[in-house]
């Protein structure tokens, strides 16, 4: 199947398991239970899902959710055609038809009335009604729904409804511990361990400031960026300032502190 093939992941993504999450995910998949992954930004949630899709050899359809997303962005809509209108499936509908893993990234960003459309797909019914089209889709046996969200910016406005939450099995992710993070950085980028160790130290310094001027610490993803820049010959301190400090804060005090952390970490 052509459309199925294009969503497949052909090359093994690098993923360093932190615990037994791979086995647990496989168990959830066998039962086709919907999965929710939580954790701070850039800690490896999306990479994990990508890795699992590769491991299970299933297509993966990712939707990045945002505030303006509406139900029809997920389900599909009518478009104009020479002969009138034509129906176009949305990503969720496509996934349900072809039996893909549908991954709704940062689902809390979408409005609550939008997230409700996934409800019939996530319980025993496993169906998706397309009311505009008058069609009821039975989900393909391979179909699975995965959502991710970051409890970090939970506010009154941005939280999942209980009725949504209670349809999922959950995985909680966090930044890996020091040794593992060093390992991840060096495997991902090919940088030597020593430099990676220093980067991780800077990252941890910033994570200590969470809630004291930073909304979120420096993520593993940003550390990978820094390591990549250093590997490509950028001066380590410049690379760190550019990839670790400037993106995450506009606050002069925090910036000075992190710049200083870089200076002392690299000597």
């Amino acid at each position: 199947m052509d459309s199925k093939e294009q969503y497949k992941i052909h090359k093994e993504p690098f993923y360093q398991p932190q615990a037994n999450e791979v086995a647990l995910y496989e168990a959830a998949y066998i039962a086709r239970l919907p999965v929710m992954v939580k954790g701070p930004t850039g800690c490896g949630k999306s990479r994990f899902i990508e890795y699992m899709a590769w491991k299970l050899d299933k297509p993966l359809i990712t939707v990045a959710c945002n505030e303006d997303m509406t139900a029809s962005d997920l389900v599909g809509r009518y478009l104009l055609d020479a002969n009138g209108t034509r129906w176009l499936d949305g990503p969720l509908t496509t996934a349900a038809r072809i039996g893909a893993i549908c991954y709704l990234d940062e689902v809390v960003e979408a409005r609550q009335d939008t997230t409700v459309v996934i409800h019939p797909l996530t319980d025993h019914r496993r169906t998706l009604p397309l009311d505009k089209k008058g069609e009821l889709i039975e989900a393909h046996p391979d179909f699975q729904l995965v959502i991710s969200y970051n409890p970090g910016y939970q506010s009154l406005m941005k939280d999942l409804k209980q009725s949504t939450k209670q349809r999922f099995t959950g995985f909680e992710f966090d930044y890996p511990d020091t040794d593992m993070e060093v390992e991840i950085l060096s495997k991902e980028t090919g940088m030597e361990q020593e430099v990676c160790g220093k980067l991780v130290k800077i990252g941890q310094a910033a994570r200590n400031l969470k809630g004291h001027g930073l909304d979120e610490g420096i993520s593993t993803r940003l550390l990978v960026y820094a390591a990549t820049l250093i590997r490509n010959g950028v001066d380590p301190k410049d690379a760190c300032r550019m990839s670790l400090v400037r993106p995450i804060t506009d606050d002069a005090d925090i910036r000075d502190t992190l710049d200083h952390a870089i200076d002392v970490a690299f000597g």
């Binding site: 303006d68 029809s72 104009l80 020479a82 009138g84 209108t85 502190t257 952390a261 002392v264 000597g267």
Partner: protein, 757 residues
């Protein structure tokens, strides 16, 4: 006569002759002074010295100026050149002829110390000019008197000059003096207090003007530093270095927080902020890796040694963690001179030097030294550290054997070698020691002090202090205004209800307008190329276009957005005396009309559902600005609030800036996208202790700017028909003048609706 009783050499006698002075006091010390002068001055310098001294002696101001000149002038001349001998005399004469002769002695007394701080003639003369300027401006003549009064602040200023220059640059000194002249020129007693550094604001301004990196300015930065890099946090408490010259206090930490100096100057290329970081890093390392030790049986030498080894251990561990710290520590750590170890033979105790050599050697792999003991113990240190972090106890045993090995007879000598042995960033290590027995050492006094402190009771809320902007100086007067806050007293809530009933028809009209303001949940956005749904009207039109061969409009979709409303409002009422006047063309007072207007506005805002507070203020000098809470953000518009509103009283003056800052303090804490502060006033800002009408206007202007920076939109509703003269100066374009006060109850809610639509 005294001259005849003292015998002097021919040369000195000749000078004495030239001086031509008969003061017995001078005669006694003349020989001593001349000895010094001859040693320090050239022959032309000596001539000038005697000549100028002669002049000062003949000024008719007694023996003292001459005495001081003779004693101090050679030292000054030595520092900044011999021309200054004339300059000193000229300025002394100037003071003498301008009624400030009492200041001559302090001027001459401190000029040597000042010259040390300002070591070129150019700088020194700038200082003299500064003093001259200050003197001219503070020597006042009172109308009707024929004399000019001497400057009351000048003598104390001259006495303080060396101390001031120790912490201030010349520019800083100028600013500090300017401040004193500006605010205390008309008040001799206060002026004297200011210039002798006795008043609180003298110290506050001094602090503001001083050079170096201030702790207060960088507290947050340092707090984030210790949190980020050390995962630790504590109060950072400043102590002052300026007033404890004999025993320099050191950083330390205890249960109450981390104590750091209030200011660090840059030294040896290390910035002040980095010195703070070094001190914090060292203390954080202690907090992480040091354990307490029982020290009753240790001698002071042993303790000193344990301190050095333990400090080195935590520094070593800190550098392991953050290698870049080593550079910083090295720059701040003194480099001891090994050759000075020989001074021991001259009876000088060099144990401190030995210890600091150990410390340097551990920190600095490039440090060159020979001493075998130091070498051995540095090696023992590194051997111990190879095993891991080691403990304070293990380190202390090494330290104790170091003392046992190197102890010498001379260590007990009262002459101790101190040079280059203080490590600036290290704390006093009081946290390391446990005493089992109560000791009578002076460190214990703190606990006594605590016990003696009387229990203070709080009466009401303490005042909050706010800075006030002085447009003349273009700077803030620190903590100038005291704001006392309280709940407004209560009255009869029924009055407000009857006022509202009176405006029943108006309320109905407002209600319709308010409905429009209420958050409409979904708003349709049409003409979208991408959208959630097909907009049929447009789609059909496009289809027709398409079929008929013209190009269709592709924007055939529509989408929705939710329309939220997030506005927090504070209404600030001016409750000054003028409010009780009758409104022109009406038999109601402005107060009553305001009450009506505020009630209607409060009712309106309640309808819309925005968070909303009402405060009132008036002032009676800067020491007593009253801020009344009439409605808090958390309260409902109910009888409680109405009763406070009904009791509104007019009195005193309008110090607007302080009240706005205080109201903003609460509004800032609100969670809302937009913050609006409405100020209802009937006149310009004024207070009885301010004579310059522009001052409070400019301060209010500054407050508006500050609020703007904090994301608060200020808007003024002014009831003064002549307000055009000043209201735009304060609020820019954000104001409305309600000329016809009768209209206020209608205007105010309408204005709110227009502002927040």
């Amino acid at each position: 006569m005294a001259t005849e009783t003292i015998e002097r050499s021919e040369e000195l006698a000749a000078y004495w002759q030239k001086l031509g002075c008969n003061f017995a006091l001078v005669d006694e010390v003349f020989d001593e002074c001349m000895k010094e002068a001859i040693a320090r001055l050239s022959s032309t310098g000596l001539e000038s010295y005697i000549e100028n001294a002669r002049f000062i002696g003949k000024m008719g101001r007694g023996a003292e100026p001459l005495l001081v000149y003779l004693e101090e002038a050679p030292a000054v001349a030595r520092l900044i050149g011999e021309e200054v001998l004339v300059d000193l005399r000229e300025f002394a004469y100037y003071m003498s002829t301008h009624t400030n002769f009492k200041a001559i002695v302090p001027f001459l007394q401190t000029c040597a110390a000042v010259a040390k701080r300002l070591p070129t003639r150019k700088l020194f003369m700038k200082y003299v000019e500064l003093i001259r300027d200050m003197m001219d401006r503070t020597s006042t003549s009172v109308h009707g008197h024929h004399t000019t009064f001497a400057s009351p602040g000048l003598p104390p200023l001259l006495k303080q000059a060396p101390r001031l220059l120790a912490v201030l640059s010349l520019d800083g000194l100028r600013n500090w003096i300017e401040y004193g002249i500006k605010y205390y020129n008309t008040h001799p007693g206060r002026q004297e207090e200011f210039f002798s550094l006795e008043s609180a604001d003298a110290l506050a301004v001094l602090q503001r003007e001083r050079h170096g990196t201030l702790l207060v300015d960088n507290e947050r930065k340092l707090d984030t530093y210790i949190r980020a890099l050390w995962n630790d946090s504590d109060y950072l408490v400043p102590y002052s270095l300026a007033f404890d010259e004999l025993r320099k206090p050191m950083p330390y930490f205890d249960d109450d927080g981390i104590r750091l100096p209030d200011v660090y100057d840059d030294i040896d290329g290390v910035q002040g902020i980095d010195r703070y970081r070094a001190a914090l890093a060292h203390m954080a390392a202690h907090r992480r890796w040091s354990q307490k030790m029982i020290v009753d049986n240790w001698s002071p030498f042993q303790r000193a040694s344990v301190e050095v080894f333990e400090d080195s251990r935590v520094d070593y561990l800190a550098c392991q963690r953050y290698p870049g710290l080593r550079k910083l520590f090295l720059a701040l750590h003194p480099i001891p001179k090994e050759e000075d170890l020989q001074l021991e033979e001259q009876g000088i105790s060099v144990f401190k030097l030995r210890l600091v050599m150990v410390s340097r050697a551990i920190l600095d792999p490039d440090y060159k030294y020979e001493n075998v003991h130091v070498r051995e113990f540095v090696q023992r240190f590194f051997e111990l550290m190879e095993s891991g972090e080691a403990t304070s106890a293990e380190m202390s045993s090494v330290a104790l054997s170091f003392i046992a090995r190197t102890r010498g007879q001379r260590d007990l000598s009262p002459k101790i070698y101190f040079e280059n042995t203080e490590v600036d960033y290290r704390d006093d290590n009081r946290h390391l020691w446990i005493y089992i027995e109560e000791s009578d050492e002076d460190e214990m006094f703190e606990h006594l002090e605590k016990r003696q402190k009387p229990d203070e009771e709080l009466h009401g809320l303490p005042p909050r202090h706010y800075d006030e902007w002085d447009y003349n100086a273009q700077s803030y007067r620190p903590d100038w205004v005291s704001v006392y806050e309280a709940l407004h007293p209560r009255g009869n809530a029924g009055r407000i209800d009857s006022l509202l009933a009176k405006h029943n028809h108006l309320a109905k009209r407002l209600k319709a307008m308010l409905e429009m303001l209420k958050p409409q949940d979904k708003v349709r956005i049409r003409y979208q190329e991408e959208g959630s749904e097909l907009d049929l009207d447009v789609a059909i039109r496009s289809l027709i276009d398409f079929k008929s061969g013209s190009s269709p409009d592709p924007r055939i979709n529509m989408s929705h957005r939710t329309d939220g409303r997030s506005i927090a409002v504070t209404l600030l009422l001016d409750l000054s005396q003028s409010l009780s006047e009758k409104a022109s063309g009406s038999d109601q007072t402005i107060m009553e009309l305001s009450q009506e207007a505020v009630s209607l506005l409060a009712w309106s805002i309640q309808q819309v559902g925005d968070p909303f507070a009402i405060g009132g203020f008036h002032s009676n000098t800067r020491h007593d600005v009253r801020y009344y809470h009439i409605k808090g953000f958390g309260e409902q518009w109910g009888d409680e609030v109405k009763s406070r509103l009904a009791e509104m009283q007019a009195g005193y003056s309008t110090r607007m800036g302080g009240a706005m800052r205080h109201a903003a303090h609460y509004l800032k804490a609100q969670q809302a996208d937009k913050k609006l502060m409405l100020i209802l006033t009937d006149g310009e800002p004024a207070d009885i202790d301010v004579h310059d009408p522009q001052l409070l206007i400019q301060d209010a202007r500054q407050a508006v700017n500050e609020l703007d920076r904090d994301g608060i939109y200020t808007y003024c509703i002014n009831l003064d028909p002549k307000a055009d003269e000043y209201v735009a100066d304060i609020f820019g374009k954000q104001y409305t003048i309600v000329d016809n006060v009768m209209q206020l109850p209608v205007k105010l809610p309408e204005l709110f609706i227009a502002l927040t639509k």
